[in-house]
Symmetry: C2
Subunit: 418 residues, 2 copies
Amino acid sequence: MSERGERPPVVVQKYGGTSVATAERILAIADRIESNLTQTPRLVVVLSAMGSTTDELVGLAHQVSERPEGREMDLLLSTGEQITVSLLGLALQARGISAVSLTALQCGIRTDGVFNFARIRSIDTGRIHEELDSGRVVIVTGFQGINETNDVTTLGRGGSDITGAALAAALGADACEICTDVDGVFSADPSRVPGARLWPAISYEEAIEMASSGAKVLHPRAAEVCMEYDVPIHVRSSFHLREGTWIREGEEIMERAEVISVTSDAKIAKVTLLDVPDEPGLAARVFQDLAAAGINIRLIIQSASSAHQGRITLILDKEFLDGARELVEQWEADKVTSGCVVEDDVAKISIVGSRLASTPGLAARMFAVLAREGINIDCISSSEMKVACVISADRLEEATRSVHAEFFPAGGAEAATA
Amino acid sequence: MSERGERPPVVVQKYGGTSVATAERILAIADRIESNLTQTPRLVVVLSAMGSTTDELVGLAHQVSERPEGREMDLLLSTGEQITVSLLGLALQARGISAVSLTALQCGIRTDGVFNFARIRSIDTGRIHEELDSGRVVIVTGFQGINETNDVTTLGRGGSDITGAALAAALGADACEICTDVDGVFSADPSRVPGARLWPAISYEEAIEMASSGAKVLHPRAAEVCMEYDVPIHVRSSFHLREGTWIREGEEIMERAEVISVTSDAKIAKVTLLDVPDEPGLAARVFQDLAAAGINIRLIIQSASSAHQGRITLILDKEFLDGARELVEQWEADKVTSGCVVEDDVAKISIVGSRLASTPGLAARMFAVLAREGINIDCISSSEMKVACVISADRLEEATRSVHAEFFPAGGAEAATA
């Protein structure tokens, strides 16, 4: 896929929904590109849709259909990026900068056939290189691809990051820049946690784990693609040209810090299947059904005791809740479970760091802080790089600030990085 | 191009901007299609953009560029039809009707390379027939095509009619239905002229002449295409299923009526070139410049006298006025003319009928009515089927009603059709 070295280096810049939210913001991006044009002679820009456009389109779809999804929904949503790329193209041209806006079809982004949650299979970079060779800034619609029959497929939420990463990999880019409304990757969401620290560099694995636990850094699949093709990622502000956070090989922060991030995620829901009979195949059936419905599960907690047969707890993204409710009804009808409890007032708080599992006591410190604040831990999941607790949604902000203060004490900036 | 006879007959239905203006209107179209599905088993629906969407997109474009045009503008505007076809697809699917929404690329509508005003060159009907064979209602984006390099090209104002006609021709359709917010083709705009008469049938030539003189019947190029491929057009209401006006071969209304329509057009402007020197080539230069700028001229009036050398008066659509002003400056600089007068407060009133030119006295009756009302005639143009007068814009409504009353007297409905 990589063509690095055959041509002068390419930079891919991705701008998200808030960076293109209005015509003024699009003009600001045009200014930013213009001011840095000599530094980035071969520039590919990937854009998301304006946030309001997506909301309006989804609203229209719900007015004509109870459950708008599938092929037509993708065709509908894909107009959002077509609008922003056209506008940036017009804005650059109005400044006398040669630019061309390309749709997924025009720049050969091919996906599998799964509507609403497609995966990129290949990118034919011919047209992009042609346009770059002619001295044009190339502007590409994020979030979307084209399947075998030329139908538009979208990549799911945050899909523009994946487009940016895949293009950077296919073009052998010098860097995949994720331009956003914060200055880089922080130890916690800086808009919610005062004193959150900006990291100059982290590893791919740390970025993936942070993104997977709800930090709005970038889409974890985007980081995976860049890791696989060894493309450095630069998460930085779309407002200025100062350096942000580099994500690349050999940037193990863990030699300095044990916990690099406290992340929170309020967009989850919890489904508990009660009294699942201890029969072979029932759990398998549950997960096969979830997979067939395209529902991603974030955490699975299974417990068995004599008191209440088997119990399976699933943590999933709120967007999948409607689909999960339908499965739940089916499972109850088929006696897979005696009943289900669906809760959408839960949230998840996680600590992330490369060697968490091998550093005893870090999880204990997190639990102790939550206990001290009187915040009940509903369930716990941990992996090599992460400890996640499900708690009540209304305690999330408080929990995040307290846990962050534990690992990154105010005024003691060096303490956690010692 | 035609494949008629090889497969069961196809009906093409085109719905314009007001018919898809809101989600409710789109649901109403879905109802209409559902209620008539057994009558139209092979149905191709062509949609325009929601009127408000187009206005919003044009507004956004003007916020980022002083003169948004060309390739990026076409990509931007083409999202409008993508939205409506997706929504109708979702609405039909929600009713359990199998339907598929196709873009110009997906249904192979190929155009020349002229952005903003492209012409359809060919349609590859393979995908459409495939979808129809699978029992689907096929919904196609109007107004747009794809050029050789897969760039989106739009067909200009009213372009969805042309898409409908071209598809009807390519598919050998039984009829091209133009579904609109009036009941058919009237002797004058029924919203402005009380007593305007609905015609059950007119000829292609009459429809073309009426459309060219400003009647909002359908795009004249659409009628030309259907005439060439012998596809009957049915102009009818999008609100109900009653018959409207058929446009087809052998429907010469003129055996019964001399004037079939009084049309008015307020969207014109007038450019007068004063003192054009009587040198060979100057007039040619003027029209070459206009053609190169893509400016269509509706009427040309040239006069010469000893008092003021040559004078050329051009009547053009208001949308071309900015472009014309630029040319005017150039012509003044190059001494093509000593000066120009640009007027945008003018309007055009026309009478249309198949044998106007061979029926002396009809034009005289029109002029007499205008004189009686004290409406000054600025200039006159006539052709075999039309007499057009340019008058002051603020007298247009009055003029239209008076001239219509002359040829279609109230209560004497049969007089004009005798």
